[in-house]
Symmetry: D2
Subunit: 350 residues, 4 copies
C-alpha cells in the first residue's frame, strides 16, 4: 500500500481551497495535516464551509503557525504577487518540500513577460525558472520530476488544450485566433466586492479585462511554444450568471489545405486515451454543464460556413480542471500516484 502524503493547503478559506478539501478528502493516499487562512484563523473549517460540518479536519491557522516539518506537499492557493515570497521562504526552510501553486506567480517562464504583465519584477527568479508549467496533458514528464508546479489559469487551460495541437500540426494561422471565454462567478473568488453581488450579476452578462486579461500571457507562452513562432490571440473573458464553468469559443483561420475535419482529427489523435479530455464527435457542441464538478474537459470542432474557418469550443469546470482538480492531478504526478486518483467523480448534472 502506498504511504499517504501529508498535505497542507495555504489559503483554505477560498473557493479553490474548499475544492481542494472536497477532492482530497476522497483521495486514498492523502492526509490533510494543515489548513491556513490568515483572516479566518482559529475557526473550524465547518464554520467557514458548512458542507464540511462534522468532518474531521485540522482547524484553520495562520501561515506563520504552519509546521513545515510535518508536511510533504503544499497546495498554495494564495493571491498572486504575495505567493512567490511565501514559496521562496517555504522552500528555503525545507528544500525537499513539493509545491503545487495555484496562483499565477510561477506560470510565466520569461521574467520579462512576468514583469510586463504583472507590473513588477519577479521576486524569486530561480524558482520561476525551475517551476514546471502544470498543464498535465502537455507537460506530463516535466511535472513528474518537478519540485514546484505552477498550476495554469482556468481560462488558460480551457484555451491552451484545444489550440496547441492545432498549432503544432500547422493547421491554423497563429495570428488569427479569436477567443471569447465565458466564466462562472466562482472564478472571481470569495472577496466581498460590490460587482460580485448576486443582484449585480444575476440575469445579465458582461465582459471584463477586455484586451488585457493576464491569462493572455499564458496563451502567448504556450501558443508560441507550439507554433514555433509568436502567435497572436485576441482574448475576451466574460462573466456569466452561473457558479462554475468556463466556455471558450475559439474562432480559428485554417492554413491552406486544412479543413475543420482535419482539426477535429488532430485533436482526437492528440488526446486519444487521455482520461480527462473528451473530444466530442465532429460538429457536436459541448455544454459547460456536462463537466460541472468533474475534472473533465470537453472539446468540440464545428465548421464555419466558409471553408477557411472553424469554431473550436472547449469547456471545463474552473474550480476543478481549471484549478483544484488539475492541482490534484499535478500532485498525483509529483507523488507518483495514479494520475486519476481522487478525480473520478462525474459531472453533477442537472
Amino acid at each position: 500500500m502506498t504511504e499517504p502524503v501529508n498535505v497542507a493547503i495555504l489559503g483554505a478559506s477560498g473557493y479553490t481551497g474548499a475544492e481542494l478539501i472536497r477532492l482530497l478528502l476522497r483521495h486514498p493516499h492523502v492526509r490533510i495535516v494543515a489548513l491556513t487562512a490568515d483572516r479566518k484563523a482559529d475557526q473550524a473549517v465547518g464554520d467557514v464551509f458548512a458542507q464540511f460540518a462534522g468532518v474531521d479536519l485540522p482547524r484553520l491557522t495562520t501561515i506563520g503557525e504552519l509546521e513545515i516539518d510535518a508536511v510533504d506537499l503544499v497546495f498554495c492557493a494564495l493571491p498572486h504577487g504575495t505567493t512567490q515570497q511565501v514559496i521562496a521562504d517555504l522552500i528555503g526552510r525545507k528544500p525537499s518540500l513539493k509545491i503545487v501553486d495555484l496562483s499565477a506567480d510561477f506560470r510565466l517562464a520569461d521574467p520579462a513577460a512576468y514583469e510586463e504583465w504583472y507590473g513588477h519584477p519577479h521576486q524569486a527568479l530561480e524558482l520561476q525558472q525551475e517551476a514546471a508549467f502544470g498543464l498535465v496533458e502537455l507537460n506530463r514528464e516535466a511535472i513528474r520530476s518537478a519540485r514546484l508546479v505552477a498550476n495554469p489559469g482556468c481560462h488558460s487551460t480551457t484555451s491552451i488544450l484545444p489550440i496547441v495541437p492545432l498549432l503544432r500540426e500547422r493547421l491554423i494561422h497563429p495570428d488569427q485566433i479569436v477567443i471569447t471565454s465565458a466564466t462562472g462567478m466562482s472564478g472571481a473568488g470569495r472577496g466581498a466586492k460590490e460587482e460580485m453581488l448576486f443582484s449585480e450579476v444575476s440575469e445579465g452578462v458582461h465582459a471584463y479585462g477586455v484586451g488585457r486579461h493576464r491569462h493572455t500571457a499564458e496563451l502567448d507562452q504556450e501558443y508560441e511554444k507550439a507554433a514555433g513562432r509568436a502567435a497572436r490571440a485576441t482574448f475576451t473573458p466574460m462573466l456569466l450568471p452561473m457558479n462554475r464553468g468556463i466556455y471558450a469559443t475559439i474562432t480559428v483561420t485554417l492554413e491552406a489545405g486544412a479543413t475543420a475535419e482535419a482539426l477535429h482529427a488532430a485533436l482526437a489523435t492528440a488526446y486519444w486515451g487521455e482520461p480527462f479530455v473528451q473530444v466530442l464527435p465532429f460538429g457536436k457542441v459541448p455544454h459547460s454543464r456536462h463537466v460541472r464538478g468533474s475534472n473533465n474537459v470537453q472539446i468540440g470542432v464545428i465548421a464555419d460556413r466558409g471553408p477557411d474557418r472553424a469554431i473550436v469550443i472547449s469547456t471545463l469546470d474552473n474550480l476543478v480542471k481549471g484549478a483544484s482538480g488539475q492541482a490534484v492531478q499535478n500532485m498525483n504526478l509529483v507523488c507518483g500516484f495514479d494520475e486519476t486518483e481522487g478525480l473520478g467523480q462525474f459531472a453533477l448534472f442537472p
Copy 2:
C-alpha cells in the same frame, strides 16, 4: 472481496436515472448491466447525458428487452401508477429479484390511503403490504431483509426525518405542524412542459399542489406512526429557481414543558452517529447549498420569539438523499454492503 451486484436501472433517461448512474459508477460493488428508457431506446447514454460521454455503459433499451436473469437488483425510476404493474411482472418472472423503487407506488402501506391520494385502487396489493418504507434512518432493520423497498419522496424525506423524533418524544403538538417545502426544479423531472421552461421559472417563485400535494400522505403515515395518533400537517411545496435542493421550514408548537433546546437535543440524540444526518448547533440555520450533490441532510432548530413555538429547518439534495442517493443507501442495506458505500462525495459548493 465482495461479489459485485448486477444492477438494472429502469427509466434511465430521467434525472433520477442519471443520478443513479453517476453514483453507481463510483460504487465498488456494482456492475450496471442494463439501462432502459422506452422513448430513447437504442441511444447511447452519452448522447442522452453528455456528462457520460465516453463512459463504458450499456445502450438504452426498452423494458421489454430487459434480460431479467442477468440482473440481481433493479432500480425502478418509472412514473407513478405504471410502476406497480411493472414490478409485479418482474417479481412474477423472478421472485428472487431485489427492487428499490423510486416511484410513489409502494410508499403507502394502507390501501385505502393509496386509493384516496392516487385516485385508483392499488394493482399489486400483496407487494404493497410487503414493501419496506425506505427511509433508512427510521427503518433500517426492515430494509435489510426486504425484497422490495419503496424509496420515499423527496419532500417526505426532508420533513419526516426532523419531525418523527419530536413526535416520538411527545415534544410537539401533532396537530400543529406547518411546513413550507421549497424545491429546486430537477424534482419536477425532465418532461417538456411549458411551466418548467427556464424563462417561466427563472427569477421567480411560486407554490404548487397547495393543500393537496401527494407527499402529504407519506407525512401522515410516518407522523401517525411516531405520534401514536393521527397527526395533521399543513404542507405547502414551492418551486425555486435552482436545480437541486429541498428546504423545509417547519413551524411547530411545543407541548407543555418542552423547549426549543429540548427539541434540538432530541434530534441530536436521535441522529447521533448517523453518517448522513447532521444536526447543526442549536440556533444555526442550514443552507441548501451545503448539501448539494451529497447524500447529507442538515437540520437546524431555532427558537421562535415566544416560548411555545420553534422553527425546525431541514435540507437535502432532492436527487441524492431525496431520491437516487437514498436508493443506493437502500441497495447497500439490501445487499449487505456498508451503508455508506458509493455515497461519500461531499457537497459541491459553490
Copy 3:
C-alpha cells in the same frame, strides 16, 4: 396643469434609490433636483447605475451639500438608525418639508416597541408620533395629510395586506398565523458582503433572521390594530436566488364558522377597486414573476385539506410595492396627485 414637485433622494446609490429614479423619471409631475450618496459623492448617476447613462440628472452629492430650500419633498433611503436624526434635522431647518422615509425608523408608533426591536431609544419621539404608516391601502386618509410618511417594510407590506382584512372580520385566529416570506436578493441592499456574493447565493436557499426579524414588529402593530387584541405570527424570512420579489406563504387557522371561501370573499371585498391589489380567483396560486417590476400585489387563497385551515399567498416586487413604488404612491397622496401616477408599468415577464 399641475405644478411639478421638486424632489430630493437621499441615499440614491442604493437599489431603492435607483428604483426611485427609474420611477420618478417617468412621473409627469416630478422634478428630481438633488441626489445624495455620501460615499459616491461627485459621481454622475450614470457611472453608478449605467442604466441611466446619458440621462439628464443632478450629480451625486453629500447630504451636507443638500440645498433644502429648493426641495419640496424628500425621499429618504438611508440606513436604519441614522435616518431619524437626519430627518429631525431636515424638518428643523424646513418645517414645511414633506418626507417619505423608506427606512424602518418611523414605522413603529410605540416607542417601547421601537426600543425593544431596535435596541436603543428613539431619537425623535415627536416625529415618531406624527409619522403616518405608509401602507396606502390601509391608511390612505392619514397619509394624505401627513408631513412624514413611514414607508413600511417589504416583508411587512406583503404579509399585512392579506391578513388585516381577515383579522378585522374575525375570520382567522390571531394567534395562529405562520408565515414564511421568501425574498429576492435585492432586498439585502448593495453593500459588499461575502454572504451576498453570487457564488454564495446562486443555486441555493436559506432562511435568515429566524424568530427575530424586525419586520415582525410591524406585523404585530398592524395585526393588533386589526384584531383588536394582541396577535401572534411566527415569521420566517428566506433568501432566494433571484433579484426581485417577495413571496409570503401564510398558513392561517379559521375561526369557527369561517371557510377558505369566506376568506377569499373578504379579501376580494376589501380590495375591490384598488389599483394595485389583485385578489386572484379562489384557489389560484400567485407567482412572484407576474408582479416583477410593477407596483402590484397579487393575493391567492387556497383551502387546506382540512376545513379549519387555509393558505393565503401574497406576492409583490420588494423594490416597487415593497419599497420605492409604494414610496411614490405615498408621495402621490401627500402631494395630491392621482395615486397611480408614475406607477402604471406592467410586470416584466419573462
Copy 4:
C-alpha cells in the same frame, strides 16, 4: 389630439406577443382591438399571462376570427415560414393594412438568399420586395412610408448596429468580423422543449446554430450594403442562463490607418442624438443588465493589446429592442407618431 390606431397582435400568447401587450398598454395612441393565439383561443389574456390579470383586453381568438376591417395595423408574431402566407392573405383582403412583422419572413430582400437560408422558395415575392427592413436607426425614411415592415432579428439588430457605421467608413476589414452573440432564454420562445427546461439550462452555457445560424443572412445583407462589397462574419450564438439580453462580442480587424479610438468616434458620430443607442465612453464595457426591459442599445469599443484589432461590444434586450420594442418603434414611424412614444421605460436593474 392624435387619433388612436387600432392594433391587432397575431401570436399573442408567445413572449414577443406579451411584450407587445406590455408596451402597447402604455402607449397613448394605441387601442388593442384583437389578440390571436390559435392554440389558446377563447382564453383570457390574464389566464395565459397573469401579469395582465384584471386588465381590460380582448379575449384570445383564432386568426380566422380576426375582423380585419376594425384593424389599422397588425403586429405579426407568428412562426417563420407560415407568416408569409398569412400576411399575403391579410393584405389581399385589406390593402391599406399596415403590418409590422416580427418573423424572419420578409427580412431578406434577395429571394435567392431567402431560399438558401430557409430551404424553400419564398411564397410572397412581391411583398418581399416591398418590405422595409425595420432596423430603425439605419432605415428610418424607408420605414416611414412602408406598408410592411420586417422587424430584424434580435441577434441581427445587436450586431448590425455597431458594425455598419464602421464598414461605411471603411474602418474595419469586411472579411475579418468574428462575433459571439450570447442570448437569454426568452429568445428561444415559449414552446415546450426538453433543452429549454430550467434544469437543462441553469448553471451552464452552450453555443447553438454554430456556423449556420439564420440571423447570419441578415448580417450578410446589411454588412454588404454598408461595405459596398461582400462581407464575411463568423457568427456564433450562445445560450445563457438568464431570461433577457443579447450580448455581442465582436472582434474586428482595423483597416490600415484606423485606430480603436477612430472606431469609437465613428460610432459616437453615427448615433449622436439617437434616443435608443448609447455609445459608452471609449474603453467602457457594457453590461446587458443595464438595458434589461428598455428599448436601449449600449455599445462599447475597447482596444485590443495590438494596434490592429479592437473589440466592439453591443447589448440590448432581445424582447424589446431585439423584438417588440423595435416593432413599436417601427409602428410609431409608420403611423407618424413620435418615434419614442410608449418606449420611455428605463432598464429594470437589479
